[in-house]
Symmetry: C2
Subunit: 373 residues, 2 copies
Amino acid sequence: MSHYSRRDFLKQLGVGAAAWPAAGHAFAARPPQEPDPGTKPLGYAVVGIGSLAKGEILPALRTTKRSRLVALVSGDPAKARHYARLYGSPEKNIYNYENYDQMASNPEIDVVYIVLPNSMHAEYTIRAAKAGKHVLCEKPMATTVKDAEEMVAVCRQARKRLMVAYRLHYEPYNLAAMKMCREEELGQIKMIDAEFGFVIGDPAQWRLKHAMAGGGSLMDIGIYCLQAARYLTGEEPASVYAEQWSSDPVKFKEVEENFSFMLRFPSGVIANCYSSYGINYVDHYRVGGSEGWLEMEPAYVYSDLVQRVYKDGKITATTPSTWDQFAAEMDAFSEAIQQDRDVATPGEEGVRDMRILMACYESARTGKVIRLI
Amino acid sequence: MSHYSRRDFLKQLGVGAAAWPAAGHAFAARPPQEPDPGTKPLGYAVVGIGSLAKGEILPALRTTKRSRLVALVSGDPAKARHYARLYGSPEKNIYNYENYDQMASNPEIDVVYIVLPNSMHAEYTIRAAKAGKHVLCEKPMATTVKDAEEMVAVCRQARKRLMVAYRLHYEPYNLAAMKMCREEELGQIKMIDAEFGFVIGDPAQWRLKHAMAGGGSLMDIGIYCLQAARYLTGEEPASVYAEQWSSDPVKFKEVEENFSFMLRFPSGVIANCYSSYGINYVDHYRVGGSEGWLEMEPAYVYSDLVQRVYKDGKITATTPSTWDQFAAEMDAFSEAIQQDRDVATPGEEGVRDMRILMACYESARTGKVIRLI
């Protein structure tokens, strides 16, 4: 990795397109590699046809190299038929939540991608694994630690892979940020601040129902700040202190609008994190080291991410990213399955987050620091 | 995130300079106004000829309209003579720390500006007030709450004004930020994050000695983040939780390198703040509201401050500031004295900060949330 110079890297980043340096990186997380000719793409069943599936995942499956859409699962047959036609998925491979387990007898389906409300992740992950399918599950992987642990245990027992859809682990700018931190290109890391907010719309949506979401802005988007703090330091937090508040007691009757948490890592590094369902276009993190800092803004959205690095007295900025994060994520999972390699974000990674998220809520509830390790 | 139009957002990031609206702000804190012809400038004695005096304050006194340098106080007579000549201050008006009180009989001196290490602020403020002079004191105003309270009491008793040198209360971009928040131009305020860091040099300097500085990065620069959180919300914090750590136990034997604190305001707003003596060029705050956000970067340094506002789907950025903050601060104090008006940052404002800073340290020491009101 010694030949990996920041200058060359930023030059590459400046190119704009997905000109990610291809070789020589002994780094766990990475964008997927081009398949060898003749490698058969894995068949994906997409479970749930909500805005994320329609807006991002189904379109991404048109560009994937190692993954292709072969099935849809929905409670609405007409909607499923419409999207099956639109994306060229066979109509015979439409399932619903009752006959879901019959996917077991469909050899076209290798992977099931769970794009359901949080509270349904556990059940449909477990049923998919029992049907003999690998599972890619959206974040947060569950609404309780117990569910998350069970998901991991069942997939292990079924000898099926479980990956949590933490797409930024397959996104070049965030990967570059992790790498710069690990290789101490910013010197010793001292601080991280991470913020993510958007104004949530429709008050009737499942994200605002505790039973379906498991929590509010922390579960949905604060998890990105937690992830950033963890993947930038490469450490597990030793403790957390948190506070929460909501400005509108009607809209946020069941889940929190705003959540602030302070993570302490064993090295000493403190990360200040904040999530909100009440502010728009705050999508940022910065990691400060003794030799410079790196920031991403936007840091977490689906595209147009920008990285700025301050070092040696000057700031260098990348062009906005243009690659498809969902395509990269799915192909990375497919590649790991095809090549029998570990994924960067297995179920166990999701369980770690779930434990911390629950400790965050415990801290906010009790007003006390919660020790994690 | 469905309404999140990233493309428009990013397009605006590219936008360059925009002029800041100059007038029409009916706000308590304000830059000083031009004096009427014939208004006699007040005479300033600058106490302590360290880097801040040499680099900023003495040069600023060349451009002030309501304030002029008339005396210097230093323990080093040769140095004092040199700077008296350089800045055209009469050599007869050179004082030292022994004959300091003799300023009482010098009618040329109206104001004493204390630019000494923190631990000396109380003594020299009190002696100046007793000598019948108004006092402008650098921040933090003291190293203990008791000292700060005594400074206020003595100045009040002597019927002399005491102003803490919080120059950002006289700086147009920060004033505009306060005004936008007060007038809810960003909607309801939800979050603030504020960070300030620089790599501290000479390990022998007074800032690293607890007896002289009263604390580390929090006292010196974290105070700017605290100030920002207070002047942006216009509220007093209800509670604070804090953690600190230092990466180098030798260099930071007496005072902390890194300090993180979470302030909770009565409205609910949470501010995440961070100060560091171990990272460079982190000088930033952002306030996020329901209708947009405002950020300053740099936010706290002496010049070239930049303000960016996100609202109505676009980001507007100012040109880097060019005005002299120290000149504005001194002239604002002189104007308040000349016109018998309140200053925006009287001693009482400094006392409020001192109480919060001490609560921050108490929280970091005990691991507990400290209630403030």
